[in-house]
Symmetry: D3
Subunit: 256 residues, 6 copies
């Protein structure tokens, strides 16, 4: 094995892996519309792919759990096919995973999250589980830390959902998520509440995605490329790996 | 498309499919130990494969949702790697899926369940969701109705978990779930509470799997074959399809 | 005393009984329509009577708690008078009983259940309470194990609710539950979803009882007799007693 | 019939009764120690008897439901046999009864409560159910309004639990609840927190019953008599009946 | 400092105070209409003022927490501005305060309550928290024990909400709560359910305040005075202090 | 009146105000340690002051509710006096306020939040309440948008809790919150998990405040001034006001 993936292991293999595993990575996605050119499972698939890469990089110290393949998508619910978990449901799932794995001796967890809409719920889960279950719970947006690659390659003023960044990641990690013949820019509305509620404004709050975009995506997916995706993915993987190593107080590869 | 799988569709494709879709199939698995010769995700994988076959058979009337890839596995929790959802968590997930899809116009659901331990919780979910959400909720054990193929091909007195039946299904549907070099019989304990608590006895109740089997499986997986698996799978698919057609009051292929 | 019944004991008598009591029996019934010839409390009364008989048979090792006299009856709710507990409510009641009696030193419990509709919820309760409260929780359908007496005496193809079996039990245990002048066959519908959803079919799921029967009962109560009831009751009592003795690892009457 | 008791009725009889029924009475008791001379079910039995009397008096306008035979008894839990429902559990039961009967057309309810420890929870239930379920929910302590009979016949300074008042009620309504040879005064402690926490003091709060009494009862049960019980019971029945008639805006016996 | 008020202390000051503090007082109010002459925060303000007085009287043994400034006001909800917490919400708040302060070493609590409508919920909270969190939880209606001052100074047959008693308390403790030019008698309805449901009647239950009074208050606020308020307040403070001293088994001022 | 503050209004005044009110502002604080130089209620007091200023600025279109004076402070719980609400508790409170005011006709809400630790829970509340209660729910960190004033006046690399920014705000809005003689810099730890988990890093997650600072504050409060506070406060008020006006689609002062 070159990476510990719970889905692909027998109990005897897990038993043996637990000797070196220091942290479990829980990939978390969403099941929601991503405009005309991405399929609805993409957040779950990309989170899984990122988790698997991280597990390879940090082998044998990390183990990847089954993916939480739905998330907080209430704002996309008026687009067909979207499924939204309530925040309480997502926290309940995470609690069950964490307490089950704690039973097996794992006490440190990273929620590796592919969907921005999950972040606040994961923050709440981190607080609740860390204090009530006596574990360490971290979370990260999969490629949120790839600031250099993003600033050098992404030009849309509003991006972050089925845009050139996300489509690039998919072209590198899982190109079957893309309908190449459908790639298109976000069809943004000229006005609406959303303009006052974007990150960085004085006020935040819930709005529905169709208030912002008619076709369900933002940014400009026609500018996406596998090469951009590769840069973003690896900058993020390196950042997460580096932070985890500090947190786990271990250089991967060191003797235990 | 030859089958409607929500994971692989864009929102525009879902919108178009909803014109003929009469029922959503929610595959439900588990993440639990399956002895030395099956990986822990097998219930989830097999349920997904069965759902996909059913969707092909009943195209364009059925749509498959993302898989619920963990379940009620408290009885396996002392084997490394097992993850157990609380029954309330599983019901909450199913409620969120059902109410989300009802928002899109779907009112009939089949929980296609690969794990026996989920059945009671799914019965409860069926009652609760049918009465509180004004939908029709059915559930089925994936190959539970393949009585003929089972009676003709399965010989162990106690079977049902990583046995010749389940391994045969995997050999046909997803052979990568199997460690062929590890195939072995269940190492059953001679005595224990479990003998009084198996299906058909006067009393039922919770017991832990290690009370029954030392290696985590039962039956005799060395007798499994792809051919047996194929027979079981298709007898079950035909039975489920036949029942669904009656329930949906439609012959698939008929004009609407 | 010839049987320990909590309802009829003072606290000093309970204190003394706890020296030999090994298990508490919680009778569980329902409050639901039973057709024109049985009153609505019959499941609760019959479960109570069975529990009391069992307590006599296994004196001084068993104690009977107050009866849970309502249950999961959503499927009967369109018949006047039916009361339905939510599954969560029933589990909450059982948790409170179990944890209260655990406070008094009892750690083994049998839910003796008179109503088929409760079985799945009791399975869930058994899992949840066994794992979360560190107790042993068993459950049994009162006369579900009387297979010989049933196969020899019951002839209706569909039976199980206010039928010749249940009415026979009542004629033996509590004849006041019966309106003799009203005894009648189930007035079954010719077609309907229920035909696909009965036990043993490929699919299961919630349906309302009026989809199946116009008068609320099934089977043929006119064939009931006290004699049949007596056979069923005692075959079941013997089976439950035998299983319990094995589980409790004691021959009743042995020295402790 | 001279009283409508749901336990003893078939669905057809309930259907016919609903033509005149204006209110459902839900008897609520407890399962808790009552000293050496009363059995633990007495609150449930006495509430049931009172409800049945009221149903006779107000026939055909009132129907009695199954009894809630356990209640809020945390303060008695250190005496063997006591079972305590959590307040949330009791409210959940009442909600399920109320919503079930509302489905049958009943919108007014009286919780007829035999156990003082339930009163606050019933007040909460009255508020919650009245506002959330659009029904009228009343509650009454069974004999709480018999002020004249109590003031003339009860002499203990502290009474209210297995005392001369409650034992008198039992002697009249259900003498089998009493162990006549065990009748005794409460064995009160000289000091303790309870003295500051009794009704009428500046502060209230939870204390355990063994802080107050060593044998579990208070008052002086040796002064109880069937005659006192009869006076108390009928003064209370008349008061409740009178108030209900005003509330229901009907003189019983009037033409509808 | 002459009183420990958590709101006005730094963590170092709290740390030092904990050396002598034996009990935390949690002021609880409501946010609800109080007729034309009192503002809606009055219950919260009066409870806070009373808590502060008590803290001065019992310094350094008592510490006052932030005020719970909303409560159980469903019965006032049809008057503009009223905010009603669900009983479960109020209990959740109290649980969080109690468990947080228990973390700091405080195990005894007094809910000092300014709003009659909260009393039953506080009784439930007292039971639940005392038994589940291993603390002592008491509660008191702020001026409920001032029986002498009330009987000598209050003449309205129905009083208790924005009446001469409550307005007098405000004139003494927080006169800005009063609109002096608006002082008026309660405009009571001649008939209605409320007449059967007032304290002391055979039946109790939820009714809406507009069923009883058209202007939202009862009693006769024109008879209120600061002097009456002062008498009521100090009689109550003395009573609560006296009871607390007994309960805490300490004479304030004694050496520890 | 120059500002609508629910705490200070009678129901008749609220009734009249509702004619022009378009949005309710709910001030939300915390009760937590703020180092040696600020009292523990400061987040609640500052949020209240900011809400009141906003209500003056946007009179008569805004009404301020009672303050939620505790919040999500689990990370400060090891400092004496801190009280932490569970996220579910905070959401329950907000739901009760929102649904109560919706009953009075208000459908737009702003959570004006003084405590950074509440932000994720408020995001979750915004999603849940907006979708389940059919209202518009916004939230804002009180002075989070004062980016210009902060960048020009705040120099500490790590700030945000009892630092020169927050102390400056207090010096302007509520100087009694400050212990001037205690003003001090944060006593930061040299190393620890917190360095990997600060905003902007690849990973986030729960850590306890004492891991970061020994005295409970960060930044350098000795650099605070009333003048800085005034600039920050008014830049933020103007930003929030401007955004709200856009969202409410009204210029304040315009005719309705």
């Amino acid at each position: 094995m070159t990476a510990y993936l719970l889905n692909d292991m027998t109990w005897e293999e897990v038993r043996d892996a637990l000797g070196t595993v220091k942290l479990a990575v829980i990939p978390i996605g969403a099941h929601e519309q991503h405009g005309p050119h991405m399929v609805e499972s993409c957040d779950a698939i990309l989170a899984t792919k990122m988790a698997n890469l991280l597990a390879e990089e940090m082998y044998p110290h990390i183990i990847v759990t089954p993916t939480v393949n739905m998330g907080i998508s209430q704002h996309h619910l008026n687009f067909p096919g979207t499924i939204a978990l309530k925040p309480d449901t997502l926290i309940a799932i995470l609690k069950d995973i964490v307490t089950s794995l704690k039973h097996h001796g794992i006490t440190r967890f990273l929620f590796l999250n592919g969907h921005g809409g999950n972040q606040s719920t994961l923050n709440v889960a981190s607080t609740v589980l860390s204090t009530e279950e006596d574990v360490e719970v971290y979370y990260a947006k999969t490629t949120g830390s790839a600031k250099k690659a993003v600033s050098e390659n992404i030009t849309s003023s509003i991006f972050g959902h089925s845009c050139e960044r996300e489509v690039s990641e998919a072209l590198y990690l899982a190109p079957s998520l893309i309908r190449p013949e459908k790639l298109t820019k976000g069809d943004l509305n000229e006005r609406g509440r959303y303009k006052q509620l974007r990150p960085g404004r004085a006020i935040q709050g819930f709005y529905r995605y169709e208030e912002m975009t008619n076709n369900g995506n933002i940014g400009d997916a026609t500018k996406a490329s596998k090469e951009i995706g590769e840069k973003i993915v690896w900058e993020a993987i390196e950042n997460i790996k580096s932070s985890l190593e500090e947190i786990l107080d271990c250089k991967v590869g060191s003797v235990y």
